[in-house]
Amino acid sequence: MSATKIYVFKRFERFWHWAQMLLVLTLLTTGFEVHGAYRLFGFERAAGYHTIAAWSLVGLWVFAIFWHFTTGEWKQYIPTLAKVDAMIKYYALGIFTDAPHPFRATRLKKHNPLQRLAYLGVLLFISPLIWVTGWFYILHDNWTAWGWDKYLSLETVAFFHTVAAFMMLIFLIAHVYLTTAGHTPTSHIKAMITGWEEVGDEETGAPAAK
């Protein structure tokens, strides 16, 4: 039984993913401390780390966006409703009965349809919310000088930033769990580390998505 492996995640993509993971974890940890959920670093350091991590993430995204557009990888996030039902059915039922995974990753389509939708949701909703409110937060020092203080209140900005942070946390929990829901429990994780994903036996494996 020899597993087929394909090279799904390129070196930059893997670096981007893991660096982003570290930064997002830092942001969540320090962010919820700044929010007052617990005491870990102390407010001052937590707020300092949070700001540093936020700027780092901005830097990382600049590279990532550039990379996505120059390589055309941005197309990975174009949503498709095809087979979304199959994915839901798989996670809801098939996964327990060892049914074949309805999606077979390829170089051109590395995310399953549900993943695409979820990531697009993150990209189009959670991220903008967290970024915009985060920028307002970072630029708070200039609100008065720029006259923004007439239209913005820190309370509203903080509210939506917190809402987005909770959504990010929920995404993170689901995402981490679903990494175990690949062809084998570790195949997704291995793929993100090595770049090579096991996509199942030639004979029994699910057909590659079109």
Binding site: E33, H140, L154, A158, T180
Partner: protein
């Protein structure tokens, strides 16, 4: 022969003289390069003035000597609050000043003049008929003494002792009269000691009233006050309270709560109060952490930079309950009770005190408006304290900052029929003063009559509070408040409205909803995962 011998000797001496004169001349040239010693703190050495030689048997006589050169000085002083003890608040037309206001310490000066006026910059204010026009009644020495030996004793109406005086009476402690001529000859600029002689002791004792001013500021170290640090910047009071024409700026009757003028620049007009922090530091003083400048748009500098008051080892009174005055000891005599720190917490004449050291201030929005409850203003007895003064301020008025305050709480006598505060005659060795006779009715009747104010003859007690903005005892920057002092559940700014403080002001329902949703997700994936394991085992 005798003549010739003399001549010879004269010749020798003359020779020696020439030689030594030459040597001295050389020395003179060398010394001329190094200027002879000169006083640099003043252009005048007052010990050289003939007007100040000899002895002086009274303060006014010293003043007359001063005025013979400083011809305008007394009339300059006459124009100031330090002299008139009166201040007309231009905003609300309230007539303030020590002459008119009440407080919840010793209450008022009415009929207590000879005691209270030991802190008047004058001589002889012993009753309300004091001559405010007399130039020789101005006390120059109390502000300009440099020897530290000039003292005006309570009961002498602003005069120093002219003969040995037992202070306090019955203590056996004899205070020597100061040597007025010596003091006058050593006259100089004002200092923390001279201003402090009164301002450190407001409310009847060291540190009692203000909390941020007490005798520890005479020669403070860096931690107590970064500016007045005697081994550092060594600011005097007048460094900030930059005075001209004897009129000292920076009064608490009309404080500057928000100063948007920025740092003062020479020659620029209309720069406002020179005693504010911003008058030197400007409005964006934080160079490394710009975020703190944003804080400074709403938060007074003092809020973070004066972390606690009464930090110098001198306690301040935090509350004073006059209603319990009058209890005598087992021997039927006046008594005092002290706490573990040797602070008096009960005095038969005065009632109960609560004292505090290293006190965390209370914080309030403050726009600089202060209105007083004056004699004749109606008051209602209730559980809510009556403001002896009330401060204005709100997050929305555009001119308020969050300020640290000492809130002095008290229970003091009032007239329950006329519903007014009252001014009792307390001090004095007579048969009326409360401190000797312990009879409120008589003492209040006398104090009120002196003011021409009605008094029903009934006495009750009313809860009061009084606000004292905190501004001195500025800590070094590394001892300023840390973020978490406010950005935490147990925030110093708890209850202050109009601000959002991360880590303190979060919405509870959002947190509950957020954490529940996260927990539900976690539970969901755990169940999902468990099912997968169970199902795969079953196979």
């Amino acid at each position: 022969m005798r003549n010739s011998t003399t001549r010879r000797w004269q010749g020798v001496v003359a020779g020696l003289w020439l030689i030594s004169a030459g040597a001295f001349a050389a020395a003179e040239i060398k010394e001329a390069k190094e200027a002879p010693p000169v006083r640099l703190d003043s252009t005048a050495d007052h010990s050289k003035f003939k007007q100040l030689q000899g002895t002086f048997d009274s303060g006014p006589k010293v003043t007359k000597a001063c005025l013979s050169c400083h011809t305008e000085a007394a009339r300059q002083v006459h124009r100031t609050k330090h002299w008139t003890w009166e201040f007309l608040n231009p905003d609300n037309q309230q007539r303030l000043g020590k002459k008119n206001v009440l407080n919840n310490f010793c209450i008022s000066i009415s009929q207590n003049y000879p005691f209270c006026t030991s802190c008047h910059v004058g001589y002889g204010w012993k009753d309300k008929n004091f001559d405010f026009a007399a130039e020789e009644n101005v006390d120059c020495l109390v502000c300009h003494d440099t020897t530290g030996n000039y003292k005006k004793l309570p009961g002498l109406a602003g005069h120093p002792a002219y003969k040995p005086v037992e202070t306090p009476p019955g203590s056996g402690n004899m205070v020597k009269p100061p040597d007025l001529a010596k003091i006058a000859q050593k006259i100089g600029k004002t200092s923390r000691d001279t201003c402090g002689a009164c301002h450190f002791f407001g409310g009847g004792g060291d540190g009692v009233k203000h909390g941020d001013m007490d005798s520890s500021l005479a020669a403070p170290d860096k931690d107590l006050d970064i500016h007045m640090d005697a081994t550092g910047l060594d600011f005097t009071c007048a460094t900030c309270h930059a005075t001209s024409s004897h009129d000292v700026p920076g009064s608490r009757y009309k404080p500057t709560a928000t100063d948007k003028h920025g740092a003062h620049i020479r020659g620029k007009m209309g720069q406002g109060n020179p005693a504010t922090c911003q008058a030197c530091h400007g409005n964006t003083p934080h160079k490394e952490k710009a975020r703190l400048n944003t804080h400074a748009e709403k938060i007074a500098c003092q809020t973070c930079h004066v972390p606690t008051f009464a930090r110098g080892g001198v306690a301040t009174k935090m509350s004073w309950d006059w209603s319990t005055a009058g209890q005598k000891g087992a021997d039927g005599k006046h008594m005092t009770r002290k706490d573990d720190h040797n602070h008096v917490i009960y005095d038969t004449r005065k009632g109960d005190f609560v004292l505090g050291e290293k006190v965390k201030p209370e914080y309030r929005w403050f726009n600089g408006d202060i209105s007083y409850t004056l004699l004749g203003d109606k008051v209602e007895k209730s559980d809510v304290p009556t403001g002896v003064n009330r401060i204005g301020g709100s997050p929305a008025d555009g001119r308020s900052m969050i300020w640290p305050m000492k809130v002095m709480r008290g229970v003091q006598p009032f007239d329950p029929i006329n519903k007014t505060l009252v001014m009792p005659h307390t001090a004095g060795n007579d048969d009326i003063g409360f401190w000797k006779n312990l009879e409120w009715e008589k003492a209040i009747a006398d104090g009120m009559q002196n003011m021409g104010a009605p008094f029903s003859g009934k006495v009750d007690f009313i809860k009061t509070e009084m606000f004292w903005p905190i501004t001195h005892m500025v800590a070094p920057k590394d001892k300023a408040l840390a973020c978490a002092e406010c950005h935490s559940a147990d925030s110093r700014l708890k209850g202050i409205d109009g601000i959002y403080m991360p880590s303190h002001s979060q919405k509870r329902w959002l947190d509950i909803a957020g954490w529940l949703a996260a927990a539900a997700t976690l539970l969901g994936v755990l169940i999902h995962g468990a099912l997968r394991i169970v199902m795969s085992r079953r196979k």
